[in-house]
């Protein structure tokens, strides 16, 4: 096998066994790798009755075929399983250094089941696979855990670790690679915590990648890397990080303010934008493995209430989630909040959004001082967020900490009192910091049809509406007007296929904007030898999209669940999108027709599944 190793590590923490397992070669061709292959393996091996934190749940880490290639943007990996936050199928992507190291160690992925009787860590070294006790790391934050891992296994070892949030089963706990990169969304840190798995450590001896066409791949790799390095996007990201265009986003109405209640705040735009972060707190830039962009920030704040030592800095989502969303324009506070979330191991998007929901609920008396233990929740009060709320959530301390550790959707169901009106979710997942009303109405559609819930990285719709995509080979050569429904369903059908390809090959959405459709096909063929045409590749993307929907159907989701909070649809009250309605229902109806989705079940019809070679899967859902 080329590119992929063809082997995964199957770990049973209950019986403390580790086993190398071959994956059928056709699975790679049909489901690509990463998120797609994880979905396929769950379909085969998963227990649909097991709750996410039950011992019987599966936690699947999966590489794409490109992990290990010395090319910007292709060092990401996927984690997947039943989400503790949403209760249905989901996945999350992470950059950094773990995925290529896992490939170099001989594995395409790790599938973990069971529950250890004591805190443990999985150690993957070639010819030395083992489960170690990790009692001495239990209770530590991610930074200290990673530091001890490095002390024990050397600096070359790459790790995934959870913090206290994962140990305490916070529903949006994340998994952190080397302190700086996170499988952020949907709560897989809690799954690790439930299995008493504190960390996974991988260390290879040599960096070999066995390409199908080494010469062709090398030539293509150099050419793509040069394009990525020289692109305007890369230069802007390199200089000012992923928040580089926050200021511009405020002016288009893309950046949410005070729980998506406002779409414009000029003073905040300059205070929080990427260039301000560079000027005030940036110490270094950091990169994922082999990436020439280096969009990650290393920051230091020497004084004030939010002083932090030199370390990982916030990216756009964190800055907006702990800035504009909470009615704050204190950039130092976003850095501190982001650092705490990294250390506790919590998703910053859900954490910030859940606190924003709570602030609005408190303002409107759905939450009272009795609920908050006498703590007033006020917009912009970042001292309370940093010093009290985040620690309470991570440790599930008190009534309020316990409530907010559930995420906003379940917290709202718990307190009711009309607090559902303040939600900004789809399928139980909090929307990212891109407001569909200003950022693009197509986002409302793609948030709602995404298998894991409101997500901007499930597919490239955000970039398509922005004008950053041009794919004439598959018919995407037209311009989209962000604040309109025109052509959004048609574009979304392409977007879900492209998104499945991106997330299954585990490619960075910033870097891969420079890759043309023919180059994508060549990458798959030169690396993994899939021998695809454009049509084959797009079909694989569609197959993955459909399989993820079939999984959700088996978890009980239907067409009604392809919905989104009203807050994200109601006309904005200010800024660029003021008064413009989002025609959600008509976009969804059109998308369902184009994607041949059943309007009740929300899954593709039998003939469509048959045409993609999914007849067996169809028999599970259509009999």
């Amino acid at each position: 096998m080329y590119g992929n190793t063809g082997e995964i590590l199957l770990v049973d923490l209950s019986s403390e066994t580790l086993e190398r397992k071959k994956v059928p070669e056709e699975y790679y061709h049909n489901y690509i790798g990463g998120a797609g292959l994880a979905a396929r393996l769950f379909w085969d091996w998963g227990d649909f009755k097991a709750q996410p934190v039950d011992p019987g749940s599966l936690l699947i880490f999966m590489n794409g075929p490109f992990a290990g290639i010395r090319l910007s943007g292709c060092s990401r990996g996927s984690v997947a399983g039943r989400s503790p936050l949403t209760g249905h199928w989901g996945d999350s992507s992470c950059g950094g250094h773990f995925a290529p190291e896992l490939r170099f160690a001989g594995f395409d992925g790790i599938v973990i089941r069971g529950q250890s009787h004591r805190p443990c860590a999985i150690v993957i070294e070639p010819e030395n696979l083992r489960i170690l006790p990790a009692d001495e790391w239990w209770g530590l934050g991610v930074f200290e855990t990673t530091s001890r891992i490095r002390a024990k296994f050397g600096k070359r070892a790459k790790s995934l670790a959870i913090g206290q949030a994962g140990e305490n089963l916070v529903d949006y706990a994340c998994i952190v690679n080397d302190n700086h990169h996170a499988f952020g969304r949907a709560g897989y840190g809690a799954v690790m915590g439930s299995k008493r798995l504190k960390a996974i450590i991988v260390k290879s001896f040599e960096q070999n990648y066995h390409a199908a066409d080494p010469e062709g791949l090398d030539q293509l790799r150099r050419s793509i890397d040069l394009k990525i390095r020289e692109s305007v996007t890369s230069q802007v990201l390199h200089e000012n990080g992923t928040a580089a265009n926050l200021e511009g986003g405020v002016h288009t109405g893309d950046v949410p303010i005070k729980n998506f209640r406002s779409s414009f705040w000029e003073e905040m735009a300059e205070a929080l934008t990427g260039s301000t972060l560079s000027e005030k707190y940036l110490k270094n830039k950091a990169a994922c493995a082999f990436c020439k962009i280096a969009c990650k920030r290393v920051v230091e704040i020497n004084e004030g209430p939010f002083a932090i030592p030199k370390g990982p800095g916030p990216e756009y989502e964190t800055i907006a989630a702990f800035g504009s969303m909470l009615g704050s324009m204190d950039l130092a506070a976003t850095c501190k909040a982001g650092r705490l979330c990294n250390d506790y191991g919590m998703d910053t998007i859900t954490a910030g959004s859940t606190i924003a929901w709570a602030m609005e609920a408190f303002e409107k008396s759905a939450l009272t001082l009795e609920d908050t233990n006498g703590l007033p929740l006020k917009w912009g009060d970042m001292k309370t967020v940093v010093d009290i709320l985040l620690p309470q959530i991570a440790f599930r301390n008190g009534k309020l900490g316990g409530l907010l550790s559930l995420g906003s959707h379940k917290a709202s169901l718990q307190i009711n009192k009309g607090s559902g009106e303040y939600l900004t979710t789809s399928k139980g997942l909090e929307a990212p910091m891109h407001d569909p009303r200003g950022g693009g109405h197509g986002l409302a559609l793609t948030y709602s049809i995404s298998h894991r819930g409101a997500c901007h990285t499930a597919n490239p719709m955000l970039f398509m509406e922005m004008g950053a995509c041009y794919y004439p080979e598959i018919g995407f050569e037209y311009e989209l007007e962000p604040m309109s429904e025109e052509n959004k369903a048609e574009s979304a059908l392409l977007a879900v296929q492209l998104g499945a390809i991106e997330n299954s090959s585990c490619y960075c959405q910033f870097a891969d904007r420079e890759i043309t459709i023919p180059e994508w096909v060549d990458l798959f063929n030169f690396s993994a030898g899939y021998n695809w045409t454009i049509e084959n590749m797009m079909s694989a993307g569609l197959r993955v999209f459909y399989l993820q929907r079939l999984l959700n159907f088996r978890f009980g989701l239907t067409a009604d669940d392809d919905s989104i909070s009203m807050r994200l649809l109601e006309p904005a009250v200010d800024g660029a999108p003021e008064g413009v309605p989002v025609e959600f229902d008509s976009m969804k109806k059109r998308f369902y027709q184009l994607a041949r989705l059943d309007e009740i079940k929300g899954i593709p019809d039998r003939a469509t599944l048959d045409s993609l070679g999914m007849s067996v899967e169809a028999s599970y859902v259509w009999n």
């Binding site: 305007v232 230069q235 802007v236 580089a244 002016h251 004008g467 995509c469």
Partner: protein, 139 residues
Amino acid sequence: MEYWKDQHEPITAFLKLFEKAKEDPELSEGLKKVNQLIWFDYTEDGSDCSFHVDCRNGQVVAKQGKPSEEPDLIMSLSADDAHRSWSNKLNPVMAITRKKIRVKGSATGLLKLAPKLKKVALIYEQALNELNFLDKILK
């Protein structure tokens, strides 16, 4: 060229735009924040078809031609697309994606100007009016 009868017309219009932009307090401040020497290179439409703007050191100076110093940023495009762009009729992100605009150097400063493109378009229309280039105004 679709909009211009020769290579000098667009430069006259664009220099007028910057002359007027300097008089507007908001745009003037915005330009100063860019803090770069930018060469707008339209030489694909004629060797004299370019101008530069020096926004460094708290000033805004626009002149015809390539700057004598090495620019921080070069924006290369056609004079017609520049006209569409200043008229806010060209999505700059899309134009860059489709290689209609080629950018060399740091575009960070320009991001600060992007939110003000609507206002730039209004002032550009005034500039075209003053130059009696009424037939060039894009509606």
